[in-house]
């Protein structure tokens, strides 16, 4: 199990690096999905099967498809690789990478001090459900409102212009 965790972690990290350095956006998306799936594995290892499942279905599935839609709609992909390359060339990388490295260093510095082990038992769907519809019931309602807000915003912004506009 531990091995699986580190394996998945390695995959996740490598895949994520792939996301941020890829010039082909579709490939990048695939890397992202890979990364998400690897994380889903980690969730499972950490005893969170529901989260693992949702990660795979909702995140890697639904949300990424949304990305794919847009990429196709805007006709990005192979054709924009040259442009991406040009954008990525140069030293624009250095400062952000350094900053992120420093941040990571800071995180590593303090996180290495944390002691504790992950759960020996799974926290299963039942436990999550009881919690969710117990004390967190308001959160569920509010989450729906959040989604509603997102929905309305997205609807208002992305709906097709009125006839004659375009």
């Amino acid at each position: 199990m531990m091995l699986l965790f580190y394996l998945a972690a390695a995959v996740a990290v490598i895949a994520t690096i792939g996301v941020i350095v890829q010039t082909n956006i579709v490939h990048a998306l695939i890397y992202l999905i890979l990364s998400l799936l690897a994380v889903a594995v980690i969730f499972y290892v950490l005893g969170a099967p529901l989260a693992a499942m949702l990660e795979a279905i909702v995140y890697a599935g639904a949300i990424m498809v949304l990305f794919l839609f847009v990429i196709m709609m805007l006709n990005l992909g192979q054709s924009t690789r040259q442009q991406e390359r040009a954008w990525l060339a140069g030293r624009g990388w250095i400062v952000p990478a350094l900053l992120a490295a420093v941040l990571l260093g800071q995180l590593l510095y303090v996180l290495s001090g944390v002691e504790g082990m992950s759960a020996a038992e799974q926290v299963g769907v039942m436990a999550v459900g009881t919690r969710l519809f117990g004390p967190y019931v308001l959160a569920v309602e509010l989450a729906s409102i959040l989604l509603l807000a997102g929905l309305i915003t997205a609807y208002h912004l992305a709906r097709k212009p009125k006839a004659g506009d375009e």
Partner: protein, 102 residues
């Protein structure tokens, strides 16, 4: 199930978070930026799962759920904005959005 040191999980989350941040900072294509944001949010979700796992609580997963909701909504809105942006500027270069300054 074999227990995993919490710090390792958190460090993984930290690495993913930093990578996502690099993506946000370096990519000019706004779709990439949005994807990198997803990486960051996902890293946060991972951190919650790790933490929840440490305490054997469901709360971590619930927070992950909420983050998932948030990410979905965020992506939806973000992508709709990208569409509008593409419509107006015919590009996904984030640098065109620099008329407001000073």
């Amino acid at each position: 199930m074999g227990a995993i040191p919490v710090e390792h999980g958190l460090i993984l989350a930290g690495i993913l978070f930093s990578l996502g941040l690099i993506g946000v900072l370096t990519r000019r294509n706004i779709v990439f930026v949005l994807m990198s944001l997803e990486v960051m949010l996902n890293a946060c979700g991972l951190a919650f799962i790790v933490a929840g796992s440490r305490w054997e609580q469901a709360d971590g997963q619930i927070m992950f759920l909420l983050i998932l909701t948030l990410a979905a909504a965020e992506v939806a809105v973000g992508l709709s904005l990208i569409i509008q942006m593409y419509r107006r500027f015919q590009t996904v270069d984030i640098n065109v959005l620099s008329e407001l300054k000073g």
